[in-house]
Symmetry: C2
Subunit: 136 residues, 2 copies
Amino acid sequence: MQQALVEAAKALDADEVPIGAVIVAGGKVIARAHNLVERLNDVTAHAEMMAFTAAADNLGGKYLKDCTLYVTLEPCVMCAGAAFWTQIPRVVIGATDEKRGFINAGVKLHPTAEIVTGVLEEECSKMIIGYFKSKR
Amino acid sequence: MQQALVEAAKALDADEVPIGAVIVAGGKVIARAHNLVERLNDVTAHAEMMAFTAAADNLGGKYLKDCTLYVTLEPCVMCAGAAFWTQIPRVVIGATDEKRGFINAGVKLHPTAEIVTGVLEEECSKMIIGYFKSKR
């Protein structure tokens, strides 16, 4: 999650909502990404989406069956839907997102997927809250 | 929807699940896309995702506020989540997808979005069912 926070900080530097994601397989980081919605002018360019695509590219296979996603904010419905398709078996979340997160929306990941929440939650939350405060 | 079916047929020719999407704004087609999951080796490369990105690129703005999406199969949770972020106000669907579609999953589009189902449903269904039959 520290690595995902490094990615989130890159988003912050680029004046994007500071969300970062990292995908790990076999103890190695195989993808790192941050939110690029503004830079790519694309509302679908969330950190997780970029990380899924990069990880599949890195592995050379469509599915992320032995991977873990670390993401600083709870994925939205779109990203959770993408996680389902990737069959990623483990999703580790920093801050929760009660309003736009997939958990309260009732969206399910792959049936066997493990979800861990609250990892470095305070650091992850602080970065996002700080960003929105600075925008007011 | 005829145009979306033309896109779906391109997917079929490329041995992809035959799903096509078209986005219209001001009476003009501003994006056309088909499923590219196999070609891009990316489970997130659904027709709608590609169309959203292309449409935003075409318009030069992130949001698709005056657009209509025509798609041959009911969007999945991921694509519906993406549609939410685009703020697209109208989604026209060919065949429904009871198993993987967003409607039965309880996912909501943007609150003001209009959803129309059953447009050229038979043609859209036939193409997808035919594809899966040919794979058995």
